[in-house]
C-alpha cells in the first residue's frame, strides 16, 4: 500500500499533474494553448481506442467481456441514483443541480481511466483491452439517469427534445472517436496497428504528462476562482469516488474479472466526467450551475482519484483477489 503510494508519486505522469497544481497555486502564467489541449485529448482517445480494439481483436469477445459491458451499463444507470440522494440530503442541493451533478458521477472520465491504466500496468495489473469498450458504454447512461432525476422540476427555455438529447449523447466527439478508433483497431488488428504504433504508442505517456500538467493547472485555477462549492459538496466529492470505486471493484471481481480489469471498472465508477457530461448538461439543463458540477468533478474528485484513489482501488482489487504480492 505504502509502496503503491510511492510508485504513484514517482510516476512522471502524476508528477506533471502535481507540477500543474503547483504552478497554478503560485499563480504562474504557465498555460497550455487551448487547441493543443484539445488535440491532446483527441490523441489520447484515438490511441486508447485503437489499443483496446487491437487487444479485443486478439483476445476475441467472450462471456467476461459481455458481463463487463453489462456491469458498466448498469452501474452507469444506478450510480446517479445513489449520488442524487446524497447530494439532495447531505449536500443540500436543489433537484436540478443534484440531477446534474449525479450525472457527472455516474459517467466516467477518460483521463482518469488512462492514468489508472498507466499506474495499474506499472504495478503488473494491466486491465484488459475490452475495458475501453466498457468505458465508452458507461459514458451515456448516467446522462439519461441524471436528466430523469432533474427533469421533474421542468426546465424552461433550455428544454431540449429527448431526441435531440440522445443524438447529442451518441454523436458527441469522444464517443465517436473512442468507438471509431476501437473499430479501426479491431479491423486493422495488430498488423495495422504496427504501422501507426510509433505515433500512438510511443508518444502516449509523454502526451499524457503534458495533458495532466494542463489538467493540474485548470483544476487548481478553477478551485481558486470558485465560490459555488460548499464544504458539504467538497466532502461528497471525496466520498462518492471512494464508495463508488470500492463498489465497482467488488462488482468487477464478482463477475469474474482479473484484478487489473476489476480495478479499472472501479476507477470508472469512481471517476466523474468533466468533458462530455458538462457539455450535455449545458444543453439539456442550462439552469444547473456549471460552477458546482465542474468544480466538484474537475477540481476535487479528479485530483483525488489521480493522486490517491487509484492507488487505493488497485490495492483493494489486489486484496480481493488475494494477489497483493503481484507488484513486481
Amino acid at each position: 500500500m505504502f509502496e503503491t503510494a510511492i510508485q504513484t508519486f514517482t510516476s512522471p505522469v502524476v508528477l506533471f499533474f502535481v507540477l500543474g497544481l503547483f504552478a497554478a497555486y503560485v499563480r504562474s502564467d504557465l498555460a497550455i494553448p487551448e487547441p493543443i489541449a484539445k488535440a491532446m485529448s483527441l490523441y489520447l482517445m484515438a490511441a486508447i481506442g485503437l489499443k483496446g480494439g487491437v487487444a479485443v481483436a486478439k483476445s476475441g469477445i467472450d462471456g467476461t467481456v459481455i458481463a463487463a459491458l453489462a456491469a458498466g451499463i448498469v452501474a452507469g444507470f444506478v450510480l446517479p441514483l445513489f449520488a442524487y440522494v446524497v447530494l439532495k440530503s447531505f449536500g443540500k442541493l436543489d433537484r436540478i443541480n443534484s440531477g446534474a451533478v449525479a450525472a457527472h458521477y455516474g459517467s466516467i472520465s477518460v483521463v482518469t481511466f488512462v492514468t489508472a491504466g498507466e499506474i495499474l500496468t506499472g504495478q503488473g495489473r494491466e486491465p484488459g483491452g475490452f475495458m475501453v469498450a466498457v468505458m465508452a458504454a458507461m459514458e451515456a447512461p448516467a446522462i439519461l439517469s441524471g436528466l430523469m432525476l432533474a427533469r421533474g422540476a421542468g426546465s424552461k427555455s433550455g428544454t431540449q427534445s429527448t431526441g435531440e438529447m440522445l443524438h447529442e449523447v451518441f454523436t458527441n466527439s469522444s464517443i465517436v472517436l473512442l468507438l471509431g478508433a476501437f473499430a479501426i483497431g479491431m479491423l486493422g488488428g495488430a498488423q495495422g496497428f504496427a504501422e501507426v504504433s510509433p505515433f500512438f504508442e510511443a508518444g502516449f505517456k509523454g502526451v499524457l504528462c503534458i495533458f495532466l500538467l494542463d489538467m493540474g493547472l485548470i483544476a487548481a485555477r478553477r478551485m481558486m476562482d470558485s465560490r459555488a462549492v460548499t464544504w458539504r459538496l467538497g466532502v461528497i466529492a471525496i466520498f462518492l469516488p471512494i464508495v463508488n470505486g470500492a463498489a465497482g471493484t467488488a462488482l468487477g471481481i464478482g463477475i469474474g474479472l482479473d484484478a487489473g480489469s476489476a480495478a479499472a471498472l472501479g476507477v470508472l465508477c469512481a471517476s466523474a466526467s468533466y468533458i462530455a457530461v458538462p457539455a450535455a448538461m449545458r444543453l439539456a439543463l442550462p439552469e444547473a450551475d456549471p460552477g458546482i458540477y465542474l468544480t466538484m468533478s474537475l477540481s476535487i474528485t479528479f485530483p483525488f482519484n489521480v493522486l490517491i484513489n487509484i492507488g487505493l482501488i488497485s490495492a483493494f482489487a489486489a486484496m480481493l483477489t488475494g494477489a497483493g504480492g503481484a507488484t513486481p
Binding site: A37, I218, D225, L283, G291, L294
Partner: protein, 103 residues
C-alpha cells in the same frame, strides 16, 4: 458621395455550446446572416472564466446586422434566454452600404 442606410447591429455573448440556439433564432427571424467572433475570457457576476474548450465552458460573440424591425423581433425572442442562460445582448445603429443585403 456613396449612399449608406441605417441598420441595427446586434451582438450577443453566448456559450459556445448554446450558440446554435442563437443562430437558429436569427435564421427564424429571417435575417440574412450572422458571424461568430471568438472570445477568450471574461468576468461577470459569476466570477472569472477562461477559454477552457476541453471542459466546454467557452463563449463566443454572435454578430448580426438587420433592419430595425427584425432586430427588435430577434431581441424579443432572445430575451428569455438572456435571463435564463446568462447571455448578454447589445445593439446599436450602424451605416451600411448596399442595405438590401441586410433586410
Amino acid at each position: 458621395m456613396i449612399e449608406t442606410v441605417i441598420r441595427k447591429r446586434i451582438e450577443i455573448l453566448a456559450d459556445k455550446a448554446l450558440q446554435k440556439r442563437v443562430t437558429d433564432a436569427i435564421d427564424r427571424a429571417g435575417i440574412t446572416g450572422w458571424t461568430i467572433v471568438p472570445v477568450t475570457s471574461g468576468r461577470g457576476r459569476e466570477g472569472h472564466w477562461r477559454e477552457e474548450s476541453v471542459m466546454g465552458t467557452d463563449k463566443v460573440f454572435v454578430l448580426t446586422i438587420a433592419a430595425e424591425d427584425k432586430a427588435m423581433a430577434l431581441a424579443e425572442e432572445l430575451a428569455p434566454m438572456l435571463t435564463d442562460l446568462g447571455f448578454i445582448l447589445s445593439m446599436w445603429d450602424v451605416q451600411v452600404i448596399r442595405g438590401e443585403r441586410f433586410d
